[in-house]
Amino acid sequence: MNEIEVKNVSFTYPGDETNPPVRALDGVTLEIEKGSFTVILGHNGSGKSTLARIICMIDSPEYGSVVIDGRDMTAEDVTDKDVLDARRKVGMVFQNPDNQIVATIVEEDVAFGCENLGVPSDEIRRRVDEALETVGMTKYARHAPHKLSGGQKQRVAIAGVIAMRRECIIFDESTAMLDPMGRREVLETIDRLNEDGITVVLITHYMEEATRADKVYVLNEGRVLTSGTPSEVFSDPETLWKASLDVPQTTELLYKLKQRGLDVPLDVFDPEKCAKVIRDALKKKKAENGG
């Protein structure tokens, strides 16, 4: 069962006197299964954020269709209520942690979405406490958001999304502006949400973040360049390099060794396992040379 289906979607940003129109998406098709962890990779300007905006119905596609939980959101008979229903299912966490927090107190911000949905007060209270617990921010419930670190702010934003009981969360480069500690906090939270059954779509240009996915889509110049499991995608570093992306350092190392004739697989991302396959390959090579 698919949470989101994007079918052959195109989108062009209109130009003005000084700027020509920009075709941001050009026939993108992808499927996101319920409960899965999908990563969308692409360099800046590859169209990945436009895609997020289209899935969240902030922009509508020029061509093609977007289906959320079985309902075609691009059909002609879509009402405001349908859009609201879809937004109850699919939430989004943005890049800049500062620009998505509305209230002056953490718990008030987490409650914001539920308040919009008209959830009764005591139910909101319960959900807010639960959501803050999930992201580990209970201690900061009464704090002012502007005094939190970037990672903490993003966790507040995530709590706001989960308090609305959404099935799917799209993270639009939500880790890009964070320091390593903040990134780790947020990624750990995302992993936990996915384990709890929430569909996760993570948009990023950090390769290490992609290794945890069930499925990776690589976007380049508005098209899907390649897709598959992380192992499949990263076993072809040349393609990624062409799209001005990197591969994890482990893959790069294994790729270089393989080119020089060492028999190693490319799809090992954990440093320990990587060391192990190299050692094994070296042993094997020695045995061959010796024998």
Binding site: N44, D179, P180, S244, L245, Q249, T250, A275, I278
Partner: protein
């Protein structure tokens, strides 16, 4: 000769208030001419304070700052001149762009220095070429550019002041791998051709390992490690203990060493691949 020298620096925010923070503690530091120095540390370690001390945005609570051999606070009225010698590119510098054209924005610094029109023009052209800003962007509005282009224009704006030392706070933050290589590669080229000293403050261990001659690790307002990248990354257990990351490749090398394959101190993929190749 040292282009930047800090002697006995202490910096305390909001001194004598309940919000007092001792951001830097007894820092002694010399940055040699023509080196790329990396400063690593996580948020709150005092990195940004250090940068603002070097170009006189902040005044040390205690201690002296020397830039190009002279004490910058000897004549507080002339502090503006220090900023031309120690050029700072702040974090997310694209947000400081303001002028109508790219040219005018890059020319802002040189104009403040009181240079002649011709001198300004030649500096802007030279700086844009170092920062990879293409000449046909000169008459465009900086607000029409892409994120990466804006970042490079902001960088050119500081390079155009022709500083003795160029200091960058997270120059590659938020950029994709292509954009990172553009900026950092451009800096390396600039440093080689002009011989300017460069100080880069960053979280990214991979980038620092690739581009720096020397790395300082800051934690809790103190310099706790100082040396060449291989020396610093060889202490990777300490770095992890500080909540910092080491390059993934260094972790692989450490795991290999535990399995009896010792590659020595490794922090770049190319070097690791060469070392392993020697073994077969």
């Amino acid at each position: 000769m040292a282009v930047v020298e800090l002697r006995g620096i202490n910096y305390i925010y909001n001194k004598n208030t309940p919000y007092e923070v001792h951001a830097l503690k007894d820092i002694d530091l010399e940055v040699k001419e023509g080196e790329i120095t990396g400063i690593i540390g996580h948020t709150g370690s005092g990195k940004s304070t250090l940068v603002q001390l070097i170009n006189g945005i902040l005044k040390p609570t205690e201690g002296q700052v020397f830039v190009d051999g002279s004490d910058i606070w000897k004549e507080p009225k002339k502090i503006r001149e220090v900023r031309f010698k120690a050029g700072v590119v702040m974090q997310y510098p694209e947000y400081q762009l303001f002028a109508e054209t790219v040219f005018d924005d890059i020319a802002f610094g040189p104009k403040n220095m009181g240079l002649s029109e011709e001198e300004i023009k030649s500096r802007v052209i030279a700086a844009s070429s170092f920062a990879n800003v293409s000449p046909d962007l000169m008459n465009r509005s900086p607000f029409d550019l892409s994120g990466g282009q804006k970042r490079r224009v902001a960088l050119a704006g500081v390079i155009a002041m022709d500083p003795k030392v160029l200091i960058l706070d997270e120059p590659a933050a938020g950029l994709d791998p292509g954009g990172r290589a553009d900026i950092l590669g451009g800096l390396k080229k600039y440093q080689r051709e002009k011989g300017t000293s460069v100080i880069i403050v960053s979280h990214s261990m991979e980038d620092m390992a690739n581009w720096c001659d020397r790395i300082l690790v800051l934690a809790d307002g103190k310099i706790i490690l100082d040396g060449t990248p291989d020396k610093v990354f060889s202490r990777f257990n300490d770095l992890i203990g500080l909540g910092l990351d080491v390059p993934q490749i260094t972790r692989v090398a450490a795991a290999l060493a535990r399995r009896g394959v010792d590659l020595g101190d490794v922090y770049t993929v190319g070097y690791a691949a060469d070392k392993i190749s020697e073994l077969f």
